[in-house]
């Protein structure tokens, strides 16, 4: 590579970005889950799901942006590591599914406020994002066990 990624010149850049990535994830997905818990009958029951989604909308979006940009920067530090790591493929599959699901089916269900409805949608949403977390954790785990650099 002709141009060195400035992220790789500092040892601290990667872990600090990871912290932003984790906090961004907790904000965005956590606020989505707050609505999911409401759909399942836990937590903020005095609010309707649509109201809750409206109240958390900007925090969800802000968290997503933080997570996405820090994630892209992490990826840029060593794309070949991620390309060869199948936990990364797994994570991206469920991440893209999660985003699409959240802004289509999930949003429609939440806005309809149908009584008792949306339990399945909430479970799918929680499941998809949990799988993203599993993928993320296993990226690091596989990187240290597969010794990808020598493939």
């Amino acid at each position: 590579m002709l141009i060195e990624n400035p992220l790789n010149s500092s040892e601290l850049a990667f872990p600090i970005l990871e912290c932003f990535h984790i906090v961004g994830f907790a904000i965005s997905v956590g606020t989505i889950w707050l609505v999911d818990f409401r759909l399942l009958g836990f937590g903020m029951l005095r609010e309707s799901p649509s109201q809750l989604a409206k109240d958390t909308f900007f925090w969800t979006l802000g968290g997503l942006i933080l997570m996405l940009f820090s994630g892209l920067m992490l990826f840029s530090s060593g794309p070949e590591d991620y390309y060869l790591n199948y936990a990364f493929d797994f994570k991206m599959l469920f991440f893209v599914s999660g985003i699409i699901f959240n802004y289509t089916v999930h949003r429609r269900t939440v806005q309809s406020d149908a009584p008792g409805g949306g339990k399945l949608v909430a479970c799918i949403s929680i499941g998809l994002w949990s799988l993203v977390i599993f993928g993320g954790i296993f990226i690091g785990f596989l990187n240290s066990t597969l010794d990808i650099h020598h493939i």
């Binding site: 984790i22 904000i27 956590g30 889950w33 836990f42 937590g43 954790i137």
Partner: protein, 179 residues
């Protein structure tokens, strides 16, 4: 004393089994992060409501009181998974500076909750009546956010400290082989 406790707990049958099974650690770590995500957002919404930055149209009591039980469940699960993780590698973590910092920050959070529980978190209804969120409530919210974010970041740091461990493990290695 802490070190001998760490050595004892990681040598118990359960944690030895857990450490030996290849996928147990990352799976528990993932579950730790899943609960962190759920718990983190509830903490965030509680504190942001006190700061007037989220859910402003909802009464403070709605946010604080309704999230109390779910927040406790989340915390209990998160701590359980955390204990499982720490138990697997207790000796290694004893020497890990980020683990020590994380535990210290968690200690500060216990003090935080003892300090502000009565004066802030149990007074949501009063805040709604008067329509004023007092200064100490905002202080509590800022401190809580800062401390929890520190806990998350220190947690990430733990993974960056590699064994070899301190002198204790080195001595055992030299004197007793695999030990």
């Amino acid at each position: 004393m802490i070190l001998s406790f760490a050595l004892w707990i990681q040598a118990t049958g359960f944690f030895t089994w857990l450490r030996g099974s290849g996928y147990a650690y990352p799976i528990i770590l993932s579950l730790h992060m899943v609960t962190l995500t759920a718990f983190g957002a509830m903490i965030l919404m509680t504190d942001l409501r006190l700061l007037g930055l989220a859910m402003r149209t909802r009464p403070v009591a709605d946010v604080l009181d309704q999230l109390r039980v779910t927040k406790r469940c989340g915390l209990a699960l998160m701590v359980t998974f955390g204990v499982l993780l720490a138990g697997c590698k207790a000796e290694e973590y004893y020497y890990n500076i980020f683990f020590r910092l994380k535990m210290t920050t968690l200690g500060l959070l216990i003090i935080h909750s003892l300090t502000f529980r009565r004066s802030v978190y149990r007074r949501a209804a009063l805040m709604d009546e008067t329509g004023i969120i007092p200064g100490n409530a905002k202080t509590a919210a800022v401190l809580s956010l800062a401390l929890w974010i520190t806990v998350a970041c220190m947690g990430r740091g733990i993974g960056y400290i590699e064994p070899p461990l301190g002198i204790h493990a080195a001595l055992r290695y030299l004197c007793g082989g695999a030990g």
